[in-house]
């Protein structure tokens, strides 16, 4: 089995946090999101990261930090959001170009999974398998692929439905049997961006699709709200402080990440992330992300992302 991580998106909704970094490489609880995924993957599984031209170098640099792992970077042609081929088309391209013929563990690179992926792979029985999570809210379920299952068997799959039949949603983690990869390529020709639709297609064709329900945490980092939720969940009241920090009359409360060489003076920082080389003076920062190299003075911020290099003095 090989693991293919889909990381071809441009994460435009998380601007400006994703202006210069891919969503799977966003720092969460002190390390890139993808590194959390890697922690739960079997050590010997070959990993392919499917990404775009814009972020290829960043992923290669990240992968170089794990020399013991077999990580390959597969680069799609897309340079921008407009030229993005779509998740399923990206998968199909990887299958064709890399001539993938083994079972495939398919993972959405911008998702955080709290469960052990080794356990997930362990329940695979040669049938398409998808991980699903009960989010307990039908309104929320509308944003995802909704799974209706009976005793571990998927009986219906609804892709972003108006009226969800359950609150069990597909969590961006699948195993595709090698024999079905040609069907994936065929289906992707018509529906380039409908990954969820693939499972409807399998069901229509009489495939036995299996569901793996998990109760552990799961975050689809599609919005700033989801990012903050994941940040708070993973850190709790823990604080990660980088090197070379100067703190003068500054309070840090809740889930906090402070990068290297940050200077803080007369500040209160609550449940926030302040990245490297920032200088903050007389600021109250809540539920926010201050990107690298910002110089802020006299600001009260709540639920904000501040673009790298911003200098504001009030």
């Amino acid at each position: 089995m090989k693991c293919l991580i889909l990381a071809g998106g441009f994460a435009t909704r998380l601007w400006p946090f994703t202006e210069k970094r891919a969503k799977p490489l966003l720092p969460i609880a002190g390390k890139p999101l993808l590194s959390h995924t890697l922690d739960f993957l079997p050590k010997d599984i070959p990993i392919i990261i499917s990404t775009n031209q814009a972020y290829a170098r960043d992923f290669a640099e990240w992968a170089s930090g794990f020399p013991e792992r077999k990580i390959e970077i597969f680069v799609e042609d897309a340079h921008s959001d407009d030229a993005k081929p779509g998740a399923l088309a990206g998968l199909s391209l990887a299958i064709r170009k890399l001539k993938l013929e083994s079972n495939l563990l398919l993972i959405a690179g911008d998702n955080y999974f709290g469960f052990d992926l080794r356990k997930f792979i362990g329940v695979y029985e040669g049938k398409p398998l998808l991980a699903c999570h009960d989010i307990g809210d039908k309104d929320e379920a509308r944003k995802f692929g909704v799974v209706v299952e009976k005793r571990g068997k998927v009986v219906e799959f609804q892709e972003k439905p108006e009226n969800p039949k359950s609150t069990l949603v597909s969590a961006g983690c699948y195993v595709l049997p090698a024999r079905l990869l040609p069907s994936v390529v065929e289906y992707a020709r018509e529906y380039a961006d409908n990954l969820g639709g693939l499972f409807e297609y399998f069901l229509r064709n009489g495939e036995d699709v299996r569901a793996f329900s998990f109760r552990e945490a799961w975050f689809d980092i599609g919005s700033f709200g989801a990012y903050l939720q994941a940040h708070k969940f993973l850190l709790g009241s823990k604080q990660i402080l980088g090197q070379g920090i100067t703190r003068d009359n500054t309070q840090l409360r809740g889930a906090i990440v402070i990068g290297d060489n940050v200077k803080l003076k007369d500040c209160t920082i609550i449940d926030s992330v302040v990245l490297d080389d920032c200088v903050l003076e007389d600021c109250v920062i809540k539920n926010s992300v201050i990107d690298q190299g910002c110089h802020l003075r006299g600001l009260d911020l709540d639920y904000k992302i501040i673009r790298a290099g911003v200098r504001i003095s009030v």
Binding site: F10, T12, S80, D81, L301, Y303, R307, G309
Partner: protein, 269 residues
């Protein structure tokens, strides 16, 4: 557009120097009936008029009559222009008195003032017409990027397009994307991740934020960094403009005495 406006103002300044000097010459001819007057020699008069014209233009510049962003002809400009002309004439009389001898004719002063004022108003009117013609040909446009595709964004874009002014929306971005492909012919070019690229490609000089208030700080800081003018639509935070200074300063437009050409187009007189 800034270069175009600067060029236009430069040409206008030179032209005004010419017409002020012309007003001196014509006033002399009208008042004295000849250039060969023996008691009040023309060459003496022209010498002083030349120096006085230079100072006159300097006074007009000092009164910000040629300032970028100022309307070429409006009540404010005309009042400043008249005041500058009074100073110009007064300077001429004093200079003549100290440099040459006692002044010959009081009516000549009235003639100089009236003709110079008339001529300068005419050159400003002409410059306005010329600018209008060039703008219609797409020359000298101030290119605007609008953030948001909501109704206030539609309103401002339609208003600016219909006003036929030199301020032209050329691109729209929306933080969360939009189903709209264009508004009044102005293309929606994507989300804010394209901000830097769009500003460079479309040579943006003004950014109007009509939506996505949560990005106001990032956008104002971006404008500050890139030297763009930033405007926020009243629907977001009252009628306010963040000045393009080294420190961000809020300026409530409705309380200001003066408005630029662009502010008048957006917010009315």
């Amino acid at each position: 557009m800034k270069t175009f406006e600067a060029k236009l103002r430069f040409v206008l300044t030179i032209l005004d120097f010419g017409v002020v000097l012309g007003a001196f010459v014509l006033a002399y001819r009208l008042r004295l009936g000849t250039f060969a007057h023996t008691v009040f020699p023309f060459m003496d008069y022209l010498q002083v008029a030349g120096v006085a014209s230079l100072v006159w233009i300097a006074v007009l510049i000092g009164f910000r009559v040629y300032a970028l962003g100022r309307k070429l002809l409006c009540g404010f400009t005309i009042s400043r222009l008249i005041l500058a002309n009074v100073v110009g004439v007064a300077f001429f009389v004093l200079l003549f008195f100290f440099w040459k001898y006692e002044f010959y004719s009081r009516w000549l002063i009235v003639y100089i003032f009236a003709l110079a004022t008339l001529f300068i108003l005419f050159t400003h009117f002409l410059a306005g017409v010329a600018r209008g013609l060039l703008v219609r040909r797409g020359i000298g446009l101030t290119r605007i990027l609008v953030i948001g595709t909501n109704r206030p964004a539609e309103k401002i874009i339609t208003h600016l397009i219909n006003s036929n002014s030199s301020y032209r929306p050329v691109a729209i971005l929306d933080a969360y994307g939009s189903s709209k492909k264009e508004i009044a012919g102005v293309p929606v070019l994507g989300k804010l991740n394209r901000l830097e690229a769009v500003v460079v490609q479309k040579e943006i000089e003004i950014l109007i934020q009509a939506d996505n208030i949560e990005h106001a700080l990032n956008l104002t800081a971006f404008c500050q960094e890139k030297g763009l003018q930033y405007f926020m639509m009243p629907n977001l935070l009252n009628a306010s403009k963040i000045a393009n200074n080294s420190h961000l300063e809020g300026e409530v437009l409705i309380n200001t005495n003066e408005r630029s050409d662009f502010e008048e187009i957006i917010f009315g007189k």
